[in-house]
């Protein structure tokens, strides 16, 4: 026997440049991603409808949150109007389907494109202003769109809201959660791969350069205005697709659902998950969606009458705010950072230093 023991790699090292720029930096990451997707593929068969519902929620919110992370985390801008774009996508898809009869299958990407177009228009001032001024400008777009939703009857059904049909393609309806879970899963995979890929592309590097050193970015030939507007456009595309998935899942779209509160919640998701991290966005969204549910379950376990339920209901509301504050203080880089630390530990295992 030539070698009795197989060689064990101590740590994970890169030997070619390609390895540095692949989507999945380690074979483990690739396997994990593949395994996760396969796991989710079979998940509907043994997960109850409740867990499927949570999975679907995490899916459509996660897509929208990733869009916000592209603006905030990758390009270093701020948006307080993300919920309005999410809502626009929801209304756009329902409207397309209701007025043209086009199958929902096609309406979702089209709604994404329409929202992107809107985002590019709204992004024009964003290309020229920064910081607090931009925050206020996006806040204004939130309110303008909210008002538009309750007035544009031809588009949104006005203050009454619009009905959204179930996901369908050429007469075949995805009318249960199992099937819809696959639709959302498909979009999550596509949108997250696109997001990860974007970050290692020429445009992705330009976004990060604009964020970190806008002067350096400029002298490298990057047009600041163009990229600032583009990031709003891409972010709106994500918001629009997330919103469209939301609409056809709930079956009913109402202007009430897309308030500034939801915009703040999206910000919470990416802060908790980690600004500028694609995977972190998923973690953060899952955290925000699951936190109230876990609290709810906790309340259930504790038991008690309606008095306790009422008291704890407030605690649950506060818990989200509390979580954001705690993350800002103790883990400002979000869950993604914690995850990286765990990965780093295993990568160099057994020699952690």
């Amino acid at each position: 026997m030539a070698s009795a023991h197989s060689r064990m790699n101590c740590g994970e090292f890169r030997t070619t440049y390609q390895q540095d720029t692949t989507i999945f930096p380690t074979p483990l990451a690739r396997r994990t991603a593949l395994f996760s997707v396969l796991f989710l593929m079979v998940a509907p068969y043994f997960l109850g409808p409740y867990y499927l519902n949570l999975g679907i929620q995490i899916g459509y919110y996660g897509i929208a949150a990733l869009g916000l992370n592209i603006v905030v985390g990758f390009t270093g801008q701020i948006s307080l109007g993300h919920a309005a774009f999410f809502g626009f996508g929801a209304f756009a898809s329902a409207w397309l389907n209701n007025t043209t009869g086009l199958p929902v299958f096609f309406c979702i990407p089209l709604a994404g494109a329409m929202t992107m177009a809107l985002g590019l228009i709204v992004g024009i001032p964003a290309g020229r202003i920064k910081g607090l001024y931009l925050a206020i400008a996006t806040l204004a777009s939130q309110y303008i769109l909210e008002d538009f939703f309750s007035r544009a009857e031809w588009f949104t059904g006005g203050s009454y809201g619009a009905m959204a049909n179930p996901f369908s393609i050429f007469g075949f309806e995805f009318n249960n959660d199992q099937l819809y879970f696959y639709v959302v899963l498909f979009y999550v995979v596509v949108m997250f791969l696109f997001g990860t890929n974007l970050m290692r592309s020429r445009d992705g590097r330009a976004f990060v350069a604009v964020r970190d050193h806008y002067l350096s970015a400029e002298i490298m030939g990057i047009n600041l205005t163009k990229y600032r507007i583009l990031s709003f456009g891409i972010s709106s595309l994500y918001a629009g697709i997330g919103g469209a998935l939301f609409a056809h899942y709930l079956g009913f779209v109402s202007a009430e659902g897309f308030t500034i509160g939801l915009s703040i919640q999206f910000l919470g998701m990416i802060i908790i998950g980690g600004l500028g991290s694609v995977m972190g966005t998923m973690f953060g969204t899952a955290f925000m969606v699951l936190l109230p549910e876990v609290m709810e379950a906790g309340i259930g376990l504790v038991g008690g009458g309606s008095g306790l339920i009422q008291a704890l209901a407030y605690i649950r509301e506060m818990a989200i705010g509390m979580a954001i504050i705690l993350f800002l203080i103790f883990e400002p880089d979000g869950l993604a950072h914690r995850w990286r630390m765990i990965k780093a530990y295993w990568k160099l295992y057994p020699f952690s230093y």
């Binding site: 540095d20 290692r200 970190d212 806008y214 002067l215 002298i219 490298m220």
Partner: protein, 277 residues
């Protein structure tokens, strides 16, 4: 008293002038006059250095050329900047990069959240050709130590960051690089190494360079020609060797000398060809 160097006034006619700055004035925020009539010529393929004390307007001159002035609320209000016969004054920075002028800013300004390779790829942002990979190799040829660094570039040492910043400029395949104080914050040994590499990039790649420096000795030893600025004006110019030999230069920048005289203004021997339009 030293005799003025009369030869400095002659610009060789046979040289092709790549960039010409003609009597420009720069105003910040519409009120603060920073440059008051700067003129200089950068012949193709040469390494030209721009010297002077702090606040003389060296960096502003570079920013006027690269277009960054606009981002900082400055403006070229008079004079002309001509690159390959085309006026580029007050153009947007990204247009100027596309025309072939690339600035390496003072203080390095690499993107710390990216790896070395990603930073280099970012340098090639304006390029559409397929030679990027080969050029990364080329950068590693000049800066072998960068090749070993696989982590985020925020963890690089100061010298390595400067090297990366220069390497990033090579990636853009520019015809001309504007270098702003590459020696800043580096140890003397590293300064020497960096300057040697800059010189060899200039010679081997044929990239024209305009180098702003406070380290006059080092810069003049590498440069083909030098300009000395003070208070927004060019006060002296000459070939690298001429300036090294110049008595006033020696006094002010190179070897200390008489401590009483603080400025070229006080020098009776100071003479310079005026180049009005």
């Amino acid at each position: 008293m030293a005799e003025p160097a009369a030869k400095t006034t002659e610009v060789p006619v046979e040289k092709e002038i790549l960039l010409s700055v003609n009597n420009i004035e720069v105003v910040y925020d519409e009120v603060i006059l920073v440059l008051r009539g700067i003129s200089l010529d950068v012949p193709k393929g040469e390494l030209i250095t721009l010297l002077g004390p702090n606040g003389a307007g060296k960096s502003t001159t570079l920013k006027a050329i690269s277009g960054l002035l606009k981002t900082e609320d400055g403006e070229v209000t008079r004079g002309a900047i001509t690159y390959k016969g085309e006026s580029i004054a007050n153009s947007a920075p990204d247009e100027i990069v596309r025309k072939g002028i690339f600035q390496v800013m003072e203080g390095r300004r690499i993107i710390e959240d990216m790896t070395v390779i990603e930073n280099l790829r970012l340098g090639a942002y304006t390029r559409k050709d397929r030679g990027v990979k080969d050029d990364i190799e080329k950068v590693f040829h000049y800066f072998p130590r960068l090749k070993e660094r696989t982590g985020l570039s925020g963890y690089l040492s100061g010298g390595e960051q400067q090297m990366l910043a220069i390497g990033r400029a090579i990636m853009a395949k520019p015809e001309m690089i504007l270098l702003d104080e590459p020696s800043m914050g580096l140890s003397p040994l590293l300064v020497k190494e960096v300057f040697e590499i800059i010189r060899s990039i200039n010679k081997e790649q044929g990239i024209t360079m305009l180098l702003v420096e406070q380290n006059a000795n080092m810069a003049l030893h590498s440069a083909d020609y030098g300009y000395v600025m003070e208070s927004g004006k060019v006060v002296l110019d000459g070939t690298g060797q001429e300036l090294l030999d110049n008595e006033d230069m020696k006094e002010f920048y190179l070897a200390g000398g008489d401590k009483e005289r603080k400025s070229f203004k006080n020098l009776k021997s100071y003479k310079r060809r005026k180049r009005w339009m």
